[in-house]
């Protein structure tokens, strides 16, 4: 009896153990399934979120493209307006230029008319001066101009004298240098150095002579014109 009881007890225990294991297994399976479902759910959510983000980005990009197109159109419009403005400005300038040319032509014609029709303009417009007064004023001006011209001539003659003197002295300097070099009183280097100084001064004198000649020519022209005027008045 005892033995059978023991055996029965053991069997019951084993059965109970088996039942427990089965329950555990089922529980684990349930947990796994739950986990899988959870993962699946999260993946789905993730996919949806990514899709939403992508849609948003796409929308943004489309919006940007639209904006860009609008900007380009605006710029095009602006460019057209500027071109129209430039064309208008050019036309205006062209018109202005034509007007200036016309004015110039009119002025030139006026001048030619004056020169041809009225002859010598000298003394035509005497202002408020009477004939005698005008003549006296002109004579005084002519005298003053004559005196100034003479003074300038005098100064130029003086300058010419100085230049001639300098040229002679420079020639003398050159000869002296040659002699001293031959007599070996100076070194080649000293000779070259001093000769260069002489040549520089010769060049400066030449340039000055040209300047003086130009002034003389100008003075001659002034005198010539003044003489012809006096003859014309007589």
């Amino acid at each position: 009896m005892v033995i059978s009881l023991c055996c029965f007890g053991t069997e019951v225990n084993a059965q109970q153990k088996k039942g427990k294991e089965k329950a555990n297994k089922e529980q684990v399976e349930k947990e796994i399934k739950k986990g899988e479902q959870k993962i699946e759910k999260e993946m789905k959510q993730g996919e949806e979120a990514v899709k939403a983000d992508l849609d948003k980005e796409k929308e943004k990009a489309e919006e940007g493209m639209e904006k860009g197109k609008e900007h380009a159109k605006e710029m095009e419009k602006k460019g057209e307006q500027e071109m129209k403005h430039s064309e208008a400005k050019m036309k205006e300038m062209e018109k202005k230029g034509e007007e200036e040319v016309k004015k110039g032509e009119e002025k030139a014609e006026e001048m030619v008319e004056k020169a041809e029709g009225k002859g010598n303009a000298y003394g035509k417009n005497k202002g408020e001066m009477e004939g005698k007064e005008f003549g006296q004023a002109r004579a005084a001006s002519a005298k003053e101009a004559q005196e100034r011209m003479m003074k300038s001539e005098q100064k130029m003659k003086e300058a010419e004298g100085k230049m001639d003197e300098s040229k002679m002295k420079l020639d003398e300097a050159k000869k002296k240098l040659e002699m001293r070099k031959e007599a070996k009183e100076i070194t080649e280097e000293e000779y070259q150095q001093k000769m260069k100084a002489v040549e520089d001064l010769e060049n400066r004198t030449r340039q000055l002579e040209e300047k003086k000649m130009e002034s003389e020519k100008k003075l001659d022209k002034i005198r010539e014109a003044a003489t012809m005027d006096e003859e014309g008045e007589e």
Binding site: N125, R204, A225, A226
Partner: protein, 60 residues
């Protein structure tokens, strides 16, 4: 004639038209002033050169 004169002096030939005594004098003065200025420069430079030549000649 004044037109030729102003041209010769390198001045403004417009002044030759409808001239008054004042304008004529002004043109002449302008031309003369230009020449006088150059003449003064020439005289000054001639003196400078002469002084330098003298100094050079002394030191040769």
């Amino acid at each position: 004639m004044l037109a030729m004169f102003t041209f010769a002096c390198g001045g403004n030939s417009d002044k030759a038209n409808g001239t008054t005594t004042e304008e004529e004098t002004s043109v002449v003065n302008e031309a003369l002033e230009q020449v006088e200025s150059v003449v003064d420069e020439v005289g000054e430079e001639a003196e400078n050169i002469a002084a330098e030549v003298d100094s050079l000649l002394e030191n040769i």
